[in-house]
Chain length 139, copies 4
């Protein structure tokens, strides 16, 4: 499902940290998975939840696949805006999609998605708890 | 010089990221040097400057010493407030001091300081440019 | 081209670091892009080169796409073996493929690939220098 | 107690990773706490133990203080040798000391130490288990 069809898109914005840059002078590519995770965290806060609650209730949502496309780099001190939405929401898995945007120009810097499965704390795949699935669906 | 004597203390606040935690369930101790760096970045923005400007003008301010005292851990999703001030400002070096605070309780989590020297882009020690020293002094 | 067809597969092996784990107790998923990068570095050393040489000769090989599939987690102190090969080698781009293996059992933990383009130091796309392309082809 | 007095010094050596560099072109200063941790891990393996065993037996050894002195930077692909020894071994705490060396020249790059306390898994300070203290003392 596209972002337009989905409805809710959650945005969060912050500065690039010096530690996140590498010797090319730009944000190291692995850092964008951390930015995506921040987008996901903000998404959960926006729907009145948070990932810590999920773990506290006995569930985990580990990443099973990730795809990232890198269009343009970003430097220390630049700001990045992360746009996050749910691309797919099933009983045992959920897919988040992301865009990293230069807030001053709207330019797309990086895009990608992460697929997750619902597991218990031992890592066994489970159906998503009703409460969480409705929450994501309603969003 | 103590924070009280100094005057300016700059604060910034953000969420703990999941990637910053470790298998003990709390923020990995090396991450606090990154938090201190964020405090420093915010300090520079607060005095109308930023570290990217310093590098663009041909200077660097590498860390020569760091000390960190860990009082209490922090978990994913918790917020941290970083308080940053200049403890010493000399012609060739500057010392920043930091406190990481639990914003909801005011409890001290971590404290420390980093000492820096002024160098040119080749790493040769130089006297701080007049403009930067005054900026830090006035702050 | 598959690993079998390709011929050269370069392996490197090391311990999981504590800082690489997260609050789930396993290696944080973003770390695998760093492991892939280590695989790439070892691949270049194995063909008698290294990425620092590439940058020193005026070229860069930034990542344009990355895909990662996570099968099973790994804990602090466990060893990981990274198997790296070239899946595609063209005049302006190259694709590396990776498997992260549990060395004690041979079990596949994570797999993925990264696509790269050849650029000059300003980031402009260029044809791969003859010397590098032959090197990769011969491998 | 100095390294000379102590006796056992454990060394481990590895390459600088690209992700560990920053926009100054050298290893980011926070990374050295991760290198120290690798030195500690290798120290424990050298005495026939490992930190995972400590946690599995119900104890933790969190860092309470860290000091780092940065003498000279290191670049991507360079090798670093970490020398680790126990500077102090008491019933409730232990101090590790470290030197990061350029293996090709023997030059000191970074030095430091970390202080740790023994706790149970809930973080309560405890006396070091007899088995562990003897192990460290004998080393």
């Amino acid at each position: 499902m596209s972002a337009d069809a989905q409805g809710r898109i959650v945005e969060t914005e912050f500065h690039v940290r010096y530690a996140e840059t590498d010797a090319m002078g730009v944000v190291h590519h692995a850092t964008y998975l951390v930015y995506f995770e921040e987008g996901r965290s903000e998404y959960m806060r926006a729907i009145g939840s948070n990932y810590a609650d999920i773990e506290a209730s006995g569930f985990q949502l580990p990443v099973t696949e990730a795809e990232v496309r890198f269009v343009r780099g970003r430097r220390y001190g630049d700001r990045v805006k992360i746009r996050t939405w749910i691309a797919e929401n099933r009983s045992r898995r959920v897919t988040f999609a992301y865009e990293v945007i230069a807030p001053e120009s709207g330019e797309l810097l990086v895009s990608g998605q992460t697929r997750h499965i619902w597991t218990d704390l031992e890592g066994k795949v489970v159906r998503v708890p009703e409460a969480w699935q409705v929450l994501f669906t309603d969003s």
